[in-house]
C-alpha cells in the first residue's frame, strides 16, 4: 500500500552559478573552497557544492574539535565500541551490551521548539537502534534563558512538549535529566537528548560497508524538502535573522520511527544487514559517504530511485534534505527480498538506490546525468581539520567565605533557594514524559540517577546527565572535571558501578580564541576525570556556534553517565527512610562559596573560583558509599551538588515527608557550611552508625554527624524551624506557577488545580 507513484524526474537546468556569495551562504570559507578546487581539479557543480557544505560543516566534520577529542580516554575492558560510530557500546555481562549516546539539537529547538526538540529525540533514538539495540530509556539536559526573558516560557513549553510528544509516542521511558535557567542562554537554548538501548554483544551493527557491488537500500519515510541545510545552520551563530531559518528545521513523525525500529530490529534478527547508517544531519549525503568512507569503498547513488514526498525535487534538495525517520543500509544481496517483505509489512518505503563500488568515489546520478563525482575519503573521514588558536583564561580568585556577609538567615535562605528557578522541583517537566512505560523504571525522575531494570532483572542500569556551566566558565578545567565527577557521584549514590560516559559539548564560536580556550580546557578536565575514575568516553557530540549577536552561552559540556547495579532491588533513593535514623555527611567541608548558587542567587554575585575537584577523594568517597549500599548498611543517600548541603538534606526530607534535627560542627560560618559547594560529598542516613563510621575510618574518609531524622520539621540548631510540608509546597510551586503565567487569565477558569 506504500508503493507510491514515482514522481517524474525534472532536470533543473538553471542551477545557480558558483559565486563567492553562494560559497559563503554554504558556510564554506574561501580557503575551504580553494581546497575543493584543488581536490577536484575543476569547479564543483551546485549539487557538489551542497554536498561539500553538508560534509565539511562543523556539525558533521568536527573540524575544530577533532584534535582535542582524540585526547579523551575511550578504552576499558568493558568498552565494545568507542566514539566514531552511531553510538558507544559497553558490555554489561550476560551477553548483553548497552548502546548509548547524547546529542544536541540546540539551534533547531530555538527556532522551532516543538519540532526541534522532537526531532532531537528522534535522531538520538535512531542512532541507538541503528546499532541493533532496542531503546530502553531516554534522558535530556535542557538549558533555557532567564525566566524573565520574553522567549523563555514559550521555549520551555515547546521543548518539553516536543520531547514528550516524540518519546511518549515512540514508547521509550524518559527517566531523567536536568533543567536550568540562566540569562546566558537567552539567545540559544540547549536541548541535549540521550538515548540508551540494549543489545546482544554479538549482534551489534556498524556503519562500515564491506564488499563491492552490494545493494544500498533506502528505508523508512519519504524524502521531502524539510531540513535542507539543517546541519549548516547548526554550524553558525545566530544573528537577527534566526526566525528566518525555520525551514531548516525538520518535522518529526514518531509513529514512522516506531515502525522503523520494529522493522530494523526484525531484519537485523534475520541476518539481512551488512552495514547500516541512519540519515540524520546532512541526510542521504552524510549517511552514504560515511558508509563508503569507513569501508574504503566508493558509493554510487541513483536519485531517481529515492522515494520522494513531492515531485520535482532536485538532486541538490534530495542530497541535503534532513527529512526524518530514514535509514540507509547495505544488504546481503541474497536477503534483499526477505528484507523488503518485512519493510512492506510495516508499511515503510524500501528502495534499492545504489551500490558499493571499488573506486572510492561518491557518484550521484539524477535524471540520466551524473550530478556529483567526488573523492569519498576527503569528503568523509579525511575532511579538513583545524588547530584553532585558543586563549587560556585567567581564572577567578578564590572567594573567602568569611568575607561574604550573609544577607538573610540560613532558614530564610533555604526557603528562597528551594523555590528558585534552578533548584525547584522539575516535576512540571518530567510529568509530561512517560517515565514508566516498558515497566522497568525502578527509580523515576527526581532522584540522583534514574534506575532502569534490564529485562526481568536482577541487573539494572543507573543513568544521569550532569554539568555545572558556571563552574566551567570560571575555570574550564575544574569545571570539566566536576561535570564528570558529579555524574560519577550520582551513579554511586544509587549504588551503581559507573561504567562509561557520553559527552555533549556545547560551546560558542570556536573561531574566537577565548571560546576555543574554554573548549580545550573543559576537554582536558573531562579527560583527566574520566581517566582517574575509569569512566571512559564512548560516544558524544559537539555543538559549537551557540552564540547570538556575538554573545556566547555558558560553556556546557553535558556528561551522560551510565552505571550498573547487580541487584535492582538494592538501588538507593534520596528519601529519608524512617524516623530516628542518624544523618551523616561524607566528605570534607571547607565552606566553598565561590561560584555557588548561594552567592549568585542570594548575594547577587557571580564570582570566584569554583570548588576544586579532588579526583582521588571522589573515588574514595564514592567507593565507600557504593559499598555501604551494597552491604545494606545505609537507608538513604544523596549527593551534594548545586545549593550545597542544606538543599540536599531538604530534598531528602521533602521526598519522604520526614523531618530532621540538624546541628553543624563548629569552625565554619553557618552560611558557608550549609550552602558551600565543596565536592565529593554525600549525605547518608543509617540505623547502623557504628559499622558505617568504622568503614569510613578504615578507608580514611571524613564523616561528620549532622543529626537525626524524625518529625515534621527541619530544625537547624539556632534557626527558625521549617515545616517540611511548607518546604515541599515552595519546592513544587515555582515552575507550575511560572508556566501558568503563559496563559491568558481567562483560561484559568478552565483549568483545575492539579494534585501535587
Amino acid at each position: 500500500m506504500t508503493r507510491s507513484l514515482k514522481p517524474r524526474p525534472v532536470v533543473i537546468s538553471n542551477e545557480p552559478a558558483i559565486t563567492p556569495e553562494l560559497i559563503a551562504e554554504h558556510g564554506l570559507k574561501p580557503e575551504e573552497y580553494e581546497r575543493i578546487l584543488k581536490l577536484l581539479g575543476r569547479a564543483p557543480s551546485f549539487t557538489e557544492l551542497g554536498i561539500f557544505s553538508a560534509m565539511w560543516n562543523e556539525h558533521c566534520s568536527y573540524k575544530s574539535s577533532k584534535i582535542h577529542l582524540r585526547t579523551l580516554p575511550t578504552k576499558a575492558p568493558w568498552v565494545i565500541q568507542g566514539p566514531g560510530e552511531n553510538a558507544g557500546v559497553i558490555a554489561i555481562g550476560d551477553g548483553l551490551a548497552v548502546v548509548f549516546k547524547m546529542e544536541s539539537h540546540n539551534h533547531p529547538s530555538y527556532i522551532e521548539p516543538y519540532q526541534g526538540a522532537a526531532t532531537g529525540v528522534g535522531g538520538i533514538l535512531r542512532d541507538v537502534f541503528t546499532m541493533g539495540a532496542r531503546p530502553i530509556a531516554c534522558l535530556n539536559a535542557l538549558s533555557f534563558g532567564d525566566p524573565k526573558h520574553p522567549k523563555t516560557r514559550a521555549l520551555v513549553a515547546g521543548v518539553v512538549a516536543g520531547i514528550g510528544g516524540y518519546g511518549n509516542s515512540f514508547g521509550v521511558p524518559t527517566v531523567g535529566g536536568e533543567v536550568r535557567f540562566d540569562r546566558r542562554y537567552d539567545g540559544n537554548c540547549l536541548v541535549n537528548a540521550m538515548a540508551v538501548g540494549l543489545a546482544e554483544t554479538d549482534k551489534i551493527f556498524y556503519a562500515k560497508a564491506t564488499g563491492v557491488g552490494m545493494p544500498i537500500v533506502y528505508l523508512g519515510s519519504k524524502t521531502g524538502r524539510d531540513g535542507i541545510h539543517g546541519a549548516t545552520m547548526a554550524s553558525a551563530e545566530f544573528g537577527a535573522d534566526a526566525e528566518e531559518k525555520r525551514p531548516t528545521v525538520q518535522v518529526g513523525d514518531p509513529f514512522s520511527e516506531k515502525l522503523l525500529l520494529e522493522a530494523c530490529l526484525e531484519i537485523m534478527a534475520k541476518g539481512c544487514v551488512i552495514a547500516i547508517q541512519d540519515m540524520g544531519a546532512a541526510g542521504l549525503t552524510c549517511s552514504a559517504v560515511e558508509m563508503g568512507a569507513k569501508g574504503d569503498l566508493g558509493v554510487a547513488l541513483d536519485l531517481d530511485k529515492v522515494p520522494c514526498r513531492e515531485a520535482g525535487m532536485s538532486a541538490y534538495e534530495m542530497m541535503l534534505s534532513e527529512s526524518q525517520e530514514r535509514m540507509l543500509m547495505v544488504l546481503k544481496p541474497d536477503k534483499e527480498q526477505e528484507a523488503e517483505a518485512i519493510f512492506r509489512k510495516w508499511g515503510l518505503d524500501f528502495a534499492v538506490v545504489g551500490e558499493t563500488t571499488p573506486t572510492k568515489r561518491f557518484v550521484v546520478r539524477h535524471a540520466g546525468a551524473i550530478v556529483a563525482d567526488l573523492p569519498i575519503k576527503e569528503l568523509g573521514d579525511e575532511a579538513p581539520v583545524y588547530r584553532r588558536p585558543f586563549a587560556e583564561r585567567l581564572n577567578d580568585r578564590e572567594v573567602d567565605a568569611a568575607s561574604i556577609k550573609p544577607p538573610v538567615a540560613v532558614a530564610d535562605a533555604l526557603e528562597t533557594l528551594l523555590g528558585s528557578p534552578n533548584l525547584c522541583s522539575k516535576r512540571w517537566v518530567w510529568e509530561q514524559y512517560d517515565h514508566v512505560i516498558l515497566g522497568n523504571t525502578v527509580q523515576r525522575p527526581g532522584g540522583d540517577a534514574a534506575v532502569v531494570r534490564i529485562n526481568d532483572g536482577p541487573k539494572a542500569l543507573a543513568l544521569t546527565a550532569d554539568v555545572t556551566p558556571r563552574y566551567c566558565e570560571a575555570d574550564p578545567f575544574e569545571g570539566g572535571k566536576q561535570a564528570v565527577a558529579e555524574a560519577w557521584r550520582n551513579l554511586s549514590a544509587v549504588g551503581a558501578q559507573p561504567l562509561a560516559v557520553t559527552d555533549n559539548l556545547n560551546f560558542g564560536n570556536p573561531e574566537r580564541p577565548e571560546i576555543m580556550g574554554q573548549f580545550v580546557d573543559c576537554i582536558r578536565g573531562i579527560g583527566e576525570a574520566c581517566r582517574a575514575l575509569d569512566f571512559p568516553v564512548v560516544s558524544g557530540n559537539v555543538s559549537l556556534y551557540n552564540e547570538t549577536n556575538g554573545r556566547a552561552i555558558l560553556p556546557t559540556p553535558t556528561i551522560g553517565g551510565v552505571g550498573l547495579l547487580d541487584q535492582f532491588t538494592k538501588s538507593m533513593t534520596i528519601a529519608f527512610n524512617g524516623e530516628d535514623e542518624a544523618i551523616f555527611l561524607i566528605g570534607e567541608t571547607r565552606g566553598w562559596l565561590g561560584q555557588s548558587v548561594y552567592l549568585r542567587d542570594l548575594c547577587g554575585r557571580e564570582e570566584g573560583a569554583p570548588p576544586p575537584v579532588d579526583l582521588a577523594a571522589e573515588r574514595r568517597h564514592g567507593d565507600l558509599v557504593r559499598g555501604l549500599i551494597r552491604d545494606g548498611l545505609i537507608t538513604a543517600a544523596h549527593d551534594v551538588s548545586d545549593g550545597g548541603l542544606l538543599v540536599a538534606v531538604a530534598e531528602m526530607a521533602i521526598a519522604s515527608g520526614i523531618g530532621a534535627v540538624l546541628e553543624q560542627p563548629p569552625g565554619i560560618p553557618p552560611h558557608a557550611f550549609w550552602f558551600g559547594e565543596d565536592q565529593a560529598r554525600y549525605v547518608i542516613t543509617t540505623k547502623q552508625s557504628q559499622p558505617v563510621l568504622e568503614r569510613a575510618r578504615a578507608v580514611g574518609v571524613p564523616v561528620v554527624p549532622l543529626g537525626a531524622t524524625g518529625g515534621t520539621l527541619l530544625a537547624i540548631a539556632g534557626e527558625r524551624p521549617l515545616r517540611i510540608d511548607d518546604l515541599k509546597r515552595r519546592f513544587e510551586a515555582w515552575l507550575p506557577a511560572y508556566m501558568a503565567g503563559a496563559r491568558r487569565p481567562r483560561a484559568y477558569s478552565l483549568t483545575r488545580a492539579s494534585a501535587s
Partner: protein, 233 residues
C-alpha cells in the same frame, strides 16, 4: 486464561501488558496483528493495549477502530467475550462503538504521567472481583487525552446502571476535582459496556504488578480475571 493482545502499528504498551498477563495468568498471551481477520481460537480475553496507534494522527483511536481485526473483536464482544481496553485501547474501543463517550484532551492540555488513586466502585464484575468495592488503588496514568466526556443522558445511564468501575479519587477515596488530573466527567477513569463484558480505562494497572518494582495495586484486575475463568471452567 488465554489472552490475545491486539497489536496495531504504533502500539507501545503491548510488552508491558504481555508481561503482566504472563506473570499473573502464567500463560504467554497471543499477539494478534491488526491486519489479521480472526482471533486465535478459544481466546478468553482480548486486550486492546496502550500506545499511539497510527501515531494518534487524525484522532486518537479513530484509525485503529477501523482495522481489519476490529470486526473480529466486535464479534467476540457481541458473543459476550471479555475485552480489556486500556488507555489508547479505551480510545479505540470508544471509536469502535464498543463503549460510549469519548476521550478529550486533558483539561490542562498537557500529557501527564504520574501515579493516581482510583476508587474501585464495584467488585461484582469479572474485571474488579480481585478488589473490594470502595477500595482505593494506586496506578500510573500516561496520557494526553484521557478526559472522559459523554452527553448527559449517557452519563446518567452509566451512573444509573453502575457502569463506572474506576473513579479518580484522593488517597482516602474522596472524589475531588483536585485529584482528577485530566478533568474527566464525574472523575470517570474506567467504564464497562451495557452488557458488562468490555472494560475501558485510562490508567495502567499493567505497570503495577511486581512487588520487587515497588507496587502491586494493578494485580487485582488480572488476578480477578484469572479467577473468573477458573471458576467458569
Amino acid at each position: 486464561m488465554r489472552s490475545a493482545v491486539v497489536v496495531f502499528p504504533g502500539i507501545n504498551r503491548d510488552r508491558d501488558m504481555a508481561r503482566a498477563l504472563r506473570l499473573i495468568s502464567g500463560r504467554e498471551p497471543a499477539l494478534v496483528w491488526h491486519g489479521d481477520a480472526a482471533l486465535p481460537p478459544s481466546t478468553d480475553l482480548v486486550v486492546l493495549p496502550g500506545g499511539f496507534s497510527y501515531g494518534d494522527y487524525l484522532r486518537c483511536g479513530a484509525i485503529a477502530a477501523r482495522a481489519p481485526i476490529m470486526d473480529a473483536v466486535r464479534d467476540f464482544a457481541a458473543k459476550g467475550g471479555l475485552v480489556l481496553a486500556i488507555c489508547n485501547g479505551f480510545q479505540i474501543a470508544c471509536e469502535a462503538g464498543l463503549l460510549p463517550g469519548v476521550l478529550m484532551r486533558n483539561a490542562q492540555l498537557r500529557f501527564i504521567c504520574r501515579d493516581v488513586y482510583l476508587r474501585v466502585e464495584r467488585s461484582d464484575t469479572p474485571f474488579t472481583r480481585g478488589y473490594n468495592a470502595g477500595q482505593v488503588i494506586r496506578v500510573p496514568v500516561a496520557h494526553g487525552e484521557g478526559n472522559y466526556i459523554a452527553d448527559g443522558e449517557t452519563i446518567a445511564r452509566l451512573e444509573g446502571e453502575g457502569r463506572v468501575l474506576f473513579r479518580y479519587s484522593s488517597p482516602d477515596g474522596i472524589i475531588d476535582p483536585n485529584w482528577n488530573h485530566n478533568g474527566a466527567m464525574n472523575g470517570i477513569a474506567g467504564i464497562i459496556n451495557d452488557r458488562g463484558n468490555v472494560l475501558g480505562m485510562m490508567p495502567h494497572p499493567e505497570n503495577h504488578v511486581e512487588a520487587s518494582m515497588g507496587r502491586t495495586d494493578g494485580r487485582g484486575l488480572f488476578a480477578g480475571l484469572v479467577d473468573h475463568f477458573r471458576v467458569a471452567a
